[in-house]
C-alpha cells in the first residue's frame, strides 16, 4: 500500500485497503472492530506476530501507522485458538468467553432489592484493585498469545474483581469452580505460568490475578 499518512490508525489503514479492493470490484477483508478507542474489545488481529500488534498496553485500534517504517511488510492474522473458530478472514467467534461469564461471572442479586450504596464501606485500596481487574475488555489476546490457548487471565480478572469486594464473597466458591469447569469444557488449554498472556494484554491485567484465582480455587476445593 502507498501513501499512508503516519497519523492514520491501523484500522483506518485497513479501511483504505478495503476501499481499494472495492474499487477493483473485489471483496474487502472482514475484520472485527467497533469503538476504535480501545474499550469495546471487538478488534482483534495478530500483527507481526503479536496480538494487538507491537505496541504494549494498547489494542489494535489504538495502533498508529507511525509505529511502522516505510516499506515494511506487515503480517496480519486472525486470533488463533481452538476455542475461537474463524468466521471469515480475520474475524473469529469468541462466544466461549460469554459462556464462561454465564457460568458464574456475576453476583446473584435481583433488581430492586439493593440496600443503600454507602451501607457497606469498601476500602479504597480494595475498590481500586477490583477496578484494575474489572478493566479487562474480553478481547481474547491472552488466549491468542498463550501457547496452550488458556483463558486463565481473562477468567481470573473476573474472579478477582469479585474476590476483592464484599458483594462477591457469598458465592465465591461456587463461582470459581463453575467458571473453571466451563473453561475446561470449552476446550481452552491449561495454564503453565508462561506469562505470555499478561505481556500481551492491552489492559495490563496482572498475572497476580491468576495467583488469586488459584488461591480461591484451592479454598473452594478444601471446603468441599
Amino acid at each position: 500500500m502507498h501513501d499512508i499518512p503516519t497519523d492514520t490508525s491501523f484500522l483506518e489503514m485497513m479501511d483504505i485497503l478495503n476501499e481499494m479492493l472495492i474499487e477493483k470490484g473485489e471483496e474487502p477483508v472482514t475484520f472485527d472492530h467497533d469503538c476504535r478507542e480501545g474499550i469495546c474489545g471487538m478488534c482483534s488481529l495478530y500483527v507481526n506476530g503479536h496480538p494487538h500488534g507491537p505496541a504494549t498496553g494498547a489494542t489494535t485500534c489504538q495502533l498508529y501507522m507511525r509505529r511502522f517504517k516505510d516499506g515494511d511488510t506487515i503480517t496480519v492474522e486472525p486470533w488463533r485458538s481452538a476455542a475461537f473458530p474463524v468466521i471469515k478472514d480475520l474475524m473469529v467467534n469468541r462466544n466461549a468467553f460469554d459462556q464462561i461469564q454465564q457460568a458464574g461471572g456475576y453476583v446473584s442479586f435481583q433488581t430492586g432489592g439493593a440496600q443503600d450504596a454507602n451501607a457497606i464501606p469498601i476500602s479504597k485500596e480494595a475498590a481500586d484493585e477490583a477496578m484494575d481487574s474489572a478493566t479487562c475488555i474480553g478481547c481474547g489476546a491472552c488466549v491468542a498469545a498463550c501457547k496452550n490457548g488458556s483463558a486463565m487471565l481473562f477468567l481470573s480478572a473476573k474472579v478477582s474483581q469479585f474476590a476483592l469486594l464484599p458483594q462477591g464473597k457469598a458465592e465465591a466458591k461456587r463461582r470459581v469452580k463453575a467458571m473453571l469447569a466451563k473453561m475446561d469444557e470449552l476446550g481452552f488449554g491449561n495454564c503453565t505460568n508462561t506469562g505470555a498472556c499478561a505481556a500481551e494484554c492491552p489492559k495490563n491485567i496482572k498475572l497476580s490475578n491468576i495467583a488469586r484465582l488459584n488461591r480461591e480455587f484451592l479454598c473452594a476445593k478444601c471446603s468441599d
Binding site: 476504535r36 462466544n95 454465564q102 477490583a130 474489572a134
Partner: protein
C-alpha cells in the same frame, strides 16, 4: 421543495395525575401487574444490549418473562455504552452539598432548555438513586474515598458533586454490571441471547408489534422472531454525520424501521456536539475521539489574537508554544467571564466554530483550537496535572504524537507547554422515537428505551445523564410500565412466525436486500456515507439557517439518488457481507438526515443543541421562542422515504417549573 404537513391530531402522553413529585408513586400504585405464573406465558423481544437493553432484558428475565435479546456485536458486552467515560449522575447528596431529587430534576429540565417532558424527568431524578444502589450491589467498582464511601465529582459545570465514576471507564463498568445480570439470566434460561443479529424490521399484527425480522450476520440468512411485545434499545443516530464519537456500528436502522411503520420520531434536530474532541486530520479518518470534558477544569481554550499568527500555524511555520501569553485570545474567558472555559457544551462548541470560521483555526485544516495546560502546570506542577489527566495526555499523544505535558518553549521567563488541539464533534442525539410516559411508542406493544427514545433530555443533555437514563429506563421504568400493557395479553398464546404478516415482512426485507445487491454501480458505501456526513456537518451542523437547511434537503435528495443508482456492494448475500450490512444502515442514515433537516427547518428558534442563526441574542447566544415552540415535534412517516413527513405537536405542560430564559451569566 416538499412542504411538511402539520397535523392537529392530539397526542396522549399518558402522564399520570397528581403533583409532579407523586406521579410515579401514583402510577405504580395503580398500574396493572402480571402475576408470576402468567409471566412465563409472555415473550418479550429486547433489541440492543447497551445499558438500556441489557438492564431491561436482565430485569424482565428476573421477573419471569421469556426474553429474546439481540445485538449486532459478537457479545452483549461490546455495545456502544461500553465507551462512556465520565460518569453517571444521581441525587444521593452523599457530599451534603444541597443536592436533591428536585435539584437534579430542575438541572436536567433547565439543561434541556425547557424542551423535555417534565413528568418523565422527575421520575428519572427519582429513580437515579436506585441505580447507584443497584450497581454497587452488582459489584461495580465505583471510585471510593479513603473512608471507604463512594466518591463523587462535579461534571458538566453542575453546582453539586453528584457524578459517580469508575476511573475514566464508567460506561464500561456499568455495562459489565448489566451484562453480569444478563448472564445470570441467560444461564437460568430466562434470556436467550442472539449475538451478531441485526433487526431489519418490526412485524405488526392487528396494529400491535408482535415480532421482528432479523438477519443472522454470520450466515446472511433472515430469521423470524415472535413475541408479545418488542422493546427497541438500539442507541442514537449520531453516525448520520459519518464522523462522530460514536462507535462504528452505531446506527439508526431499527428506529427507522419503527418510524416507517408509523411510530412517531420526536425532535430529530436535537443533536449534541461535544466541544473537546481530537480534530479531524484528513479524509481517511473513520471516527472522532472524545477527550474527556474534565480537561476543561484546568485547560484554557485559545486561538491567536492575530490572524497572521493563525495563518502561520495553519501553514505549519510556527507552533502554539511560540505564541506568548499576550498574543493569545482566551475567547471563552473573554466572552463569558463568569464561566470561562466551563461554559455548557453547545456554547463552547459554537464559540470554537465562530473563531475558526473567522480564520483563526490553528491546524492545517483551520478547524481546531488550542486547549492549553501551561498555566495549570506552572501553578500546580506537572505531577499534579499528570495525576489528574495523565491517561488522557497519553491517549492524546498516542493518537497525535504530541505530548501535552511536555515543556516546549520559554518566552520572557514564562514556560509554555505543548497545547492540545481540539474541535467539536457530534456526540449524542437527544431526539429519538417518540414514547409516552410508559415508554411505549405510538405503536401498541412497541417500546423504546435508552438513547434511541427522545424522552428525558429535551433539547440538550447534561454530562453523565445518558447513562443514568439508560439504566433508569431498563432497570426501573420499563419493567413496570410494560406490565400495564402485557396484563391483558396473558390469554394470547405464544405466537407462531408462520403467519401472513411474517411472510410479508420477510419478503419485504429480502426485496430490500436484493435491490441493494442489484444496484451494481461504482461507489463504495463509505464514500457515499462520507458525503452524507459532509452535507450534514456543513448544512445541518452546529449553526443552521433556513437556507442551509433547504440546501441540505436538496443535496440529500441527490444523494439518495446516487445511493440508489450508483452504489456497489461486492460479494453475495451468502454468509457474512459487511458491505451489504453497512449499505442497509446507510439507506436509513440518509432518511434520518432528511428528518433532522425537516425538523431543524421547522423549529424557528434556537434551543439547546439546535441553533438557528436567525434566532440569537446580540451576544450570539441561543434565543428560544417559548410562545411558538413549546412543544415536542413528532414526525410521522408518509408511506415512502421521498415524501416529506407530517408534523404532529405534543404541547408541553409545566407544573413543577416555570420556564426561564437562559444566559450564560446565570446559567448552570
Amino acid at each position: 421543495m416538499e412542504e411538511t404537513k402539520i397535523n392537529a391530531q392530539p397526542i396522549d402522553s399518558k402522564i399520570p395525575e397528581g403533583p409532579i413529585a407523586e406521579k410515579w408513586t401514583n402510577y405504580k400504585a395503580h398500574q396493572k401487574l402480571v402475576n408470576p405464573a402468567n409471566k412465563r406465558k409472555l415473550d418479550i423481544i429486547v433489541v440492543g444490549t447497551g445499558l438500556a437493553g441489557a438492564s431491561a432484558a436482565a430485569t424482565l428475565g428476573e421477573m419471569g418473562f421469556n426474553v429474546l435479546n439481540f445485538c449486532i456485536q459478537d457479545s452483549p458486552r461490546r455495545a456502544h455504552s461500553i465507551a462512556a467515560q465520565g460518569g453517571i449522575n444521581a441525587a444521593k447528596n452523599y457530599q451534603n452539598d444541597g443536592d436533591s431529587v428536585y435539584r437534579l430534576f430542575y438541572d436536567t429540565v433547565k439543561g434541556g432548555d425547557y424542551r423535555a417532558r417534565e413528568a418523565n424527568v422527575y421520575r428519572l431524578a427519582e429513580v437515579s438513586n436506585n441505580i447507584i444502589d443497584q450497581c454497587v450491589a452488582q459489584g461495580v467498582p465505583f471510585a471510593r474515598e479513603y473512608g471507604g464511601l463512594l466518591a463523587n465529582r462535579s461534571f458538566g459545570g453542575a453546582q453539586v458533586s453528584r457524578t459517580f465514576y469508575a476511573k475514566g471507564q464508567t460506561g464500561q463498568q456499568l455495562l459489565l454490571g448489566a451484562y453480569s445480570s444478563l448472564n445470570r439470566m441467560i444461564h437460568a434460561g430466562k434470556v436467550k441471547s442472539y449475538n451478531r443479529y441485526e433487526m431489519h424490521d418490526v412485524v405488526i399484527i392487528d396494529g400491535r408489534a408482535r415480532g421482528i425480522i432479523a438477519k443472522n450476520l454470520v450466515t446472511g440468512k433472515l430469521e423470524r422472531f415472535a413475541a408479545h411485545a418488542v422493546v427497541i434499545a438500539t442507541g442514537g443516530y449520531g453516525n448520520t454525520y459519518f464522523l462522530s464519537t460514536n462507535a462504528m456500528g452505531c446506527n439508526c436502522s431499527a428506529a427507522m424501521a419503527c418510524y416507517r411503520h408509523g411510530a412517531y420520531f420526536a425532535n430529530p434536530a436535537y443533536v449534541q456536539i461535544h466541544p473537546t474532541c481530537i480534530p479531524v486530520h484528513g479524509d481517511k479518518q473513520s471516527k472522532l475521539t472524545l477527550m474527556s470534558e474534565s480537561l476543561r477544569n484546568d485547560g484554557r481554550i485559545w486561538v491567536p489574537k492575530n490572524i497572521e499568527d493563525a495563518k502561520k500555524l495553519q501553514a505549519g511555520q510556527i507552533k502554539g508554544s511560540d505564541i506568548p501569553e499576550e498574543e493569545r485570545d482566551y475567547y471563552l474567558e473573554r466572552r463569558y467571564p463568569a464561566f470561562g472555559n466551563l461554559v455548557p457544551r453547545d456554547v463552547a462548541s459554537r464559540a470554537a466554530k465562530e473563531r475558526c470560521d473567522k480564520g483563526y483555526g490553528v491546524n492545517n485544516t483551520g478547524k481546531a483550537v488550542f486547549l492549553d495546560f501551561s498555566e495549570a502546570i506552572n501553578r500546580l506542577g506537572i505531577d499534579v496535572i499528570r495525576q489528574r489527566y495523565g491517561n488522557l495526555f497519553d491517549m492524546y499523544e498516542e493518537i497525535t504524537d504530541v505530548n501535552p505535558g511536555e515543556l516546549a518553549n520559554e518566552i520572557n521567563g514564562v514556560k509554555y507547554y505543548n497545547p492540545m488541539m481540539i474541535y467539536p464533534a457530534i456526540h449524542y442525539t437527544m431526539g429519538g422515537i417518540w414514547v409516552d410516559y410508559e415508554l411505549q411508542t405510538s405503536i401498541k406493544g412497541l417500546f423504546a428505551i435508552g438513547e434511541c427514545n427522545f424522552s428525558d433530555h429535551g433539547a440538550n443533555r447534561l454530562g453523565a445523564s445518558a447513562l443514568m437514563q439508560g439504566l433508569a429506563d431498563g432497570y426501573f421504568v420499563l419493567p413496570y410500565t410494560i406490565q400495564n400493557y402485557l396484563s391483558d395479553q396473558i390469554t394470547v398464546p405464544h405466537f407462531s412466525t408462520d403467519s401472513p404478516e411474517f411472510d410479508a415482512a420477510e419478503k419485504k426485507v429480502q426485496k430490500n436486500l436484493d435491490d441493494l445487491m442489484a444496484i451494481q454501480g461504482k461507489r463504495s458505501v463509505d464514500s457515499i456515507h462520507k458525503e452524507l456526513g459532509n452535507v450534514m456537518w456543513d448544512y445541518v451542523g452546529m449553526a443552521r439557517t433556513k437556507e442551509s437547511l433547504e440546501t441540505a434537503l436538496k443535496k440529500l435528495k441527490e444523494l439518495r439518488k446516487e445511493f440508489e443508482t450508483n452504489l456497489f456492494i461486492p460479494g453475495t448475500q451468502e454468509g457474512m457481507n459487511v458491505e451489504l450490512d453497512k449499505a442497509f444502515r446507510l439507506r436509513d442514515f440518509i432518511t434520518m438526515g432528511e428528518l433532522i433537516a425537516y425538523d431543524a427547518l421547522n423549529r424557528h428558534e434556537s434551543c439547546g443543541g439546535h441553533f438557528r442563526e436567525e434566532h440569537q441574542t446580540e451576544e450570539g447566544e441561543a434565543k428560544r421562542d417559548d410562545e411558538n415552540f413549546f412543544y415536542v415535534a413528532c414526525w410521522k412517516y408518509n408511506g415512502n422515504d421521498e415524501t416529506a413527513p407530517t408534523l404532529i405537536k405534543e404541547p408541553l405542560h409545566y407544573e413543577g417549573l416555570a420556564s426561564e430564559g437562559r444566559s450564560c451569566h446565570g446559567w448552570l
